[in-house]
Amino acid sequence: MMLFQSFKMALKAIAGNKMRSFLTMLGVIIGVMAVVVLVAIGQGANASVVESIEGMGTNLITANITARRMNPVNMDGLNELAQNPFIEYTAPTANVSGTVKAGNAAYEDGQVMGTTPGYEHIRGWEVAEGRFLTQPDIDNRSFVAVIGAEAATEMYGTTHAVGETFSLSGYTLTVVGVLESNGENASGSNDNQVLIPFSLAQRLAQSTSISSFYVSAVSSEMVEMAQLAVEMFLAEAFEGYTANSWGTQYRVYNQSEMLDTLSETTETLTLMLGGIAAISLLVGGIGIMNIMLVSVSERTREIGIRKAIGASRGNILMQFLIESLVVSMMGGVLGLLISQGAVDFLAPILEMKLEIPVNVAWLAIGFSVFIGVVFGMYPANKASKLKPIDALHYEG
């Protein structure tokens, strides 16, 4: 009953001084907006990272050999590893430096990589035209290549590029297949890939060892087992080798680990952004306190009158506390509404799926209520403690 009346009084006081109330609210509005929008963007970024990693396949395991001097991993070893029951495919990869030239035009963006047929399955890539690399290509060290869609159009002006030729480090290679475009993802596009037989890449690099390879587990449930198999294989291969200066000779990680690491990073970032934004909410709270203090001294006489006609300390305390609460709560709700608008506006610009997380929305509202109470407490208490006679005789 009394509470309802206090709300009515608070609304009246706020409506009676619209400009000031709005400016006071602005602090909270901006604070809530900063928190909500930044957290939404942070989570949107996280979601898009997760999505693109998941697009790479969840049963993927990557191994990088970091040992510099001696590398015992070779094709025979890898073929042996492929026999493991938890492992479906293995594919070594080797980046090849050198510029691809179709005719006289160099394709600078082309990324030349040597690999084996298993790579197609591991990455889940599709061949749009022609065929992927085959085992005979590897065995015969054939001068063939499978290229990405963008590579095809850049080099030949068409994706129907099977049978075309290009030169690489003085060798002439024939295009035997064009990949289906898969767009952008976290591992990069396949569109600018130029895939050649791994044996050919080794020849070009004059090396017989394998410095990185991909493995796919038979299913996503078996990823851990497959990873263990890869680690055991590498541990065995490196037995007796001295570690290099930073102690590790190889690194094995699976997609979910990568996902965790990346999510953790973006989540930390989100938290940091939210934290910084929360400071502005705090500043908004101080603004409320400031205005409420001004309001208390402006309304000293009103407080005196109210006390003379029977308002108790509690009544006055409640009145001012509810007033600051209503200001901050309205600021919070308005901030949330504007945030929704801002998020809708920003989503297409940032090319992200943005949405305000429900828990963050509640948190922002809760926090603004908290701020209203905390920063309203001091002025309200000050008002309630005024002695009725002093307040009545106050000339302000």
Binding site: M1, M2, Q5, K12, A13, G16, R301, E302, G304, I305, R306, K307, A308, I309, G310, A311, S312, R313, G314, N315, K387, P388, I389, L392
Partner: protein, 233 residues
């Protein structure tokens, strides 16, 4: 009704102790119309503050409606002010942002009276002081006399046992002042207990009993040692 015994109120001003009320004893019976008259600085405002439970005495006893005030806490004093005392001030002391009706309603809100009953009582009180037509007006849209009548309505609405008026005509012209005094007379005839505080002899003459206050001491009737000390305005 009001029983004061040896009430003392001191102030310290510049290291000097001033007795605003110097062992004051006063008795007001229900239904009485008492005027307290004295020059400014005589302690009459202090007396009113203590009678009105806005302030408490340093020593002595004050019994209002049979209950000693000394023992009360802030909250209970607020309750007494709310239910038993109707204040009427020189400066009207209406809340400027509220309408006449809302001003009258306010003490009843603090009493926790339900909306319907409250509206009825506020309307009655305003009609009684002749402001039935101006309930929606704000204080600044009312004349001084109307504002004071509104304040009277606010004091009356809760049916207090004591009406306490501090210079009710101080801010009004003579004619309006006379109207307000007429209203007090009617309230008295209706059985209300009224304590009127003023420095104006003519205003005081309207009451049935006149008490003079000077330098914190009360004198009744011819007891005043030096009649010339009372300024005649």
């Amino acid at each position: 009704m009001i029983e004061m015994k040896d009430v003392v109120k001191r102030y310290t001003l510049g290291g000097e102790t001033i007795y605003a009320l110097d062992h004051v004893s006063l008795r007001v019976r229900p239904g009485e119309y008492v005027a307290v008259i004295g020059p400014s600085g005589s302690g009459k405002s202090t007396l009113m503050n203590i009678i009105g439970c806005l302030d408490q005495a340093d020593s002595g006893t004050y019994i209002l409606n049979g209950k000693p005030i000394k023992k009360y806490r802030e909250r209970q004093l607020a309750r007494i002010r709310n239910r038993q005392i109707g204040f009427i001030f020189q400066g009207f002391n209406l809340l400027p942002k509220l309408s006449a009706f809302e001003n009258v309603e306010l003490p009843m809100i603090y009493q926790g009276i339900g909306a319907r009953k409250r509206k009825k009582m506020a309307k009655e009180a305003l009609e009684r002081v002749g402001l039935g037509e101006r309930m929606k007006h704000r204080p600044n849209q009312l004349s001084g006399g109307q504002q004071q009548r509104c304040a009277i309505a606010r004091a009356l609405a809760v049916k207090p046992s004591l009406i306490l008026a501090d210079e009710p005509t101080g801010n009004l012209d003579t004619r309006t002042g006379r109207e307000i005094m007429q209203m007090f007379k009617e309230l008295h005839e209706a059985g209300n207990t009224i304590v009127l505080i003023t420095h104006d002899n003519k205003v005081a003459q309207c009451a049935e009993r006149i008490i003079r206050i000077e330098d914190g001491k009360l004198y009744e009737n011819q007891e005043v040692p030096d009649d010339d000390a009372v300024p005649v305005v």
